[in-house]
Amino acid sequence: ARQVVRPKEKMTTSEEVKPWLRTIYGTSKELVTPTVIAGVTFSAKPEETPNPLKPWVSLEHDGRPKTIKPEIKKGQTKKGRPDYKTYFKTAVTHTYSYEDLKAHNMDPNQKHVEEEYIDEDDTYVSLNPVVRCTPDLYFNKGLAKDIRSEPFCTPYENSRWKVDHTYFVSWYTRFFEDVNSGEVADQVRVHLSYVKENPREKGNYKR
């Protein structure tokens, strides 16, 4: 005889995400409408007090979202939010002359070049809870796994996308830099195309 176990009810939240108000760029007010995609809430209202252990959303190899809860172990934060280093910063070089700095250990005719990284405008970027794609998260693809996957971080090559499932395609935004103008493309669009692979390309054709 086995104890009858009630299957757990699937948690469904009936609460609706409500629009919220914020002030950007100092004075202009803006209404932000959160959206929920594949269980991930985008443009959610930030918490009053910043929480270092706030869960964040990472992506599986095939692009499915997964929630990561940071932990504190031995005084260190494990699985914390990824550090984007300077990938989304703009590098500016300043050249200072002796007149500008009047440093005591500087020759009168010496020039000092300093590189400064300017943070990007995170007004809208901060509303995205999903990990952003940086070259650190690239993977190797191709038959010999020797081709970098730039600009994509997800999905990995040969992933299987199933019908009626939602997957995230993520790419490094600064990869699309216009050669002529040197500016990053402000708009992009995603394409899905059919391909036919011959046996050789599939890699199972030996002779």
């Binding site: 009858v4 952003r132 994509f152 996308w161 669009r189 899905l192």
Partner: protein, 163 residues
Amino acid sequence: DLPGTFFSSEWIDNLNGLMAIEVDEDWLQNEFERRIVVSVQPKYIPDEDFNPLQYGVLLHITKGSRVFKPTKEQLALDDAGITNDQWYYVALSIPTVVVIFFVFMYFFLYVNGKNRDFTDVTRKALNKKRRVLGKFSEMKKFKNMKNHKYTELPSYKKTSKQN
């Protein structure tokens, strides 16, 4: 309008570098699996210059998984004690039948132990062996026997007439 492209999104801001795509069954075109390429076209590259295969990622879109795995619901029902276990009976009954058969065979042989006689079989096998030229003492079966009182007389190949 790109060759082979069956889905193109709107122009979106290249801000987060992220886009959610829900796989539609129509894209499979009544096949179980299709091979696709995911590619991103920046605004400054016109359609005729854009090559999806240059930086695209090769994927499979499939209707589902080929291998049957119990879904969470089925596992939950199992936990609830609601199981359809006909196959369980089948799986158990086969070895049971085999065991019963062997037990029955053992007792049958045990009961008939007294009235069994295989001498005709052994004789036929030995006759077959005896046709081999050479001494008994050299046969594999008798090689290690030590109680030879005398050496054998030579034996010849029997012709079919002599049988």
